[in-house]
Amino acid sequence: MRIGILAVQGAFAEHEKVLEQLNIPYIELRKAEDLDTPYDGLIFPGGESTVQGKLLKELGMFDKIHAQLLDGMPVLATCAGMILLASSLDNDTHHYFGTLPISVKRNAYGRQLGSFHTISECKGLGDIPMTFIRAPYVSSVDDSVDVLSVVDSHIVAVQYENQLAMSFHPELDDDLRIHQRFLELVQNHAS
């Protein structure tokens, strides 16, 4: 098993550290040629979605990754990553992969003073630490989407087929369960 981590901008190194703890090999995806190395699952890290989305397109990576997502490749998307997957954005005219049928509100908690940390339940995992940094939340979901976590009456984690997306950053806390859940998806998809 090998994971491709989108590494055009943002907190990709933090995801790499988690995978190292779990002994899972990974590669960094920074440009089109990096997509030639085979991988079994994708991680979209936190960062700025405007920057990541633009670089994906201008560095010639967008179409191939889009095809992989449509083909059912498992993906773990955190914060900005969730914005890349969302089929619609409430307060942004940009549109990226759109493979996850949810609406997302960017910077939904306001500026940095609105960033917060909490512990809340994630379906199937129990209580997990959640770090929200200038985070988005999910404003609405299609009926086919499995809502995994709700904090203060806002949806903050969802799963749809092989796409696991959340507005918080599991890579910033010590809890490995979200990544393990993603790796199970990858394992099941590969076999």
């Binding site: 590494a7 055009v8 901008q9 943002g10 907190a11 990709f12 190194a13 933090e14 920074r30 440009k31 936190g46 960062g47 700025e48 405007t50 920057v51 633009k54 670089l55 201008e58 560095l59 914060c79 900005a80 307060n91 942004d92 960017r106 910077n107 306001g110 500026r111 940095q112 003073l113 960033s115 917060f116 940390h117 770090t131 940094i133 200038r134 950053h169 910033l172």
Partner: protein, 292 residues
């Protein structure tokens, strides 16, 4: 505890900016250009460092209304500068909910002894440093992000390189020390033992470290990344050049693929005129000497 958690969140915002370019902008229009070109954040200020240098006189925090205009224009984080030691300017920036305050040597210092006690604030601070001691002193005061000082407004990369190399070699030296030597190292660096111990064990600063001050080309940006910067601030280099949009775009891509010389070669083509720049021997005001 609340303060500790807030400090963690502030360090974590800097982590989200990594691998990105933070651009100086003076108007909402420039902010939009920067965002469209791929800036991961913008620094709102009335005059870019090259113009501050040319105009002389006392330079201060920008008009809050002007900063608000930029906050309204873009969706990415907005930073702004206050003078070294001017905690009321910082209070004002916090009250308008700035995402990051740069306690900056680019502005005229308000205090020649004390920096701001940044632990008293909820909003995060980034500070400049030219060596490890300065970086750790700023972190001890509450900074949650560090950048090299470089020499702002010159378009000359030499000082940013000097500061990054100095910091790297001092970090390497600490990591190679025996544990019982760290107490003396803390004394020499004029910083608390706990911070020295962190660097000794982890081989890096406890916060994100960007390059700043003199970055003018995609090659400059990649140079700083290869020297270990986790991202880059570009000030005068963009909006003082012939084609700001194209240059900003090229610098962003160069930071992402900083080891790919083929790509940086292509990115460096036809960028138009770079900012003219001033060599360090030709300047009378060394901003990096402010606030140590």
């Amino acid at each position: 505890m609340e303060n500790t958690e807030r400090y963690q969140l502030n360090k974590q915002l800097a982590q989200m900016l990594k691998g990105g370019v933070i651009m100086d902008v003076t108007t909402p229009e420039q902010a939009k250009i920067a965002e469209a070109a791929g800036a991961c954040a913008v620094m709102a200020l009335e005059r870019i460092p090259a113009d501050i240098r040319a105009a002389g006189g006392v330079s201060r925090m920008s008009d809050p209304k002007m900063i608000r205009g930029i906050q309204d224009a873009v969706s990415i984080p907005v930073m702004a500068k206050c003078r070294i030691g001017h905690f009321v300017e910082a209070q004002i920036l916090e009250s308008i909910e700035i995402d990051y305050i740069d306690e900056s040597e680019v502005l005229s210092p308000a205090d020649d002894v004390y920096h701001i006690n940044k632990r008293n604030f909820k909003v995060p601070f980034v500070c400049g440093a030219k060596d490890l001691g300065e970086a750790l002193r700023r972190i001890n005061e509450g900074a949650s992000m560090i950048r090299t000082k470089g020499e702002p407004g010159t378009g000359d990369i030499i000082q940013a390189v000097r500061h990054m190399r100095k910091m790297n070699s001092e970090i390497a030296r600490l990591t190679s020390m025996r544990e019982d030597e760290l107490f003396e190292a803390a004394k020499q660096l004029q910083v608390p033992y706990e911070l020295v111990s962190y660097v000794h064990s982890n081989g890096r600063l406890p916060v994100v470290n960007f390059a700043a001050g003199g970055v003018a080309t995609p090659a400059d940006a990649a140079l700083m990344m290869q020297l270990g910067a986790e991202g880059v601030f570009v000030g005068s280099g963009i909006f003082k050049s012939g084609n700001p949009e194209k240059r900003a775009n090229a610098i962003v891509k160069s930071v992402t693929n900083y080891t790919d010389a083929d790509m940086i070669a292509k990115l460096s083509e036809d960028l138009g005129e770079a900012m003219v720049g001033i060599n360090e021997q030709e300047i009378s005001l060394i901003m990096a000497e402010r606030g140590i």
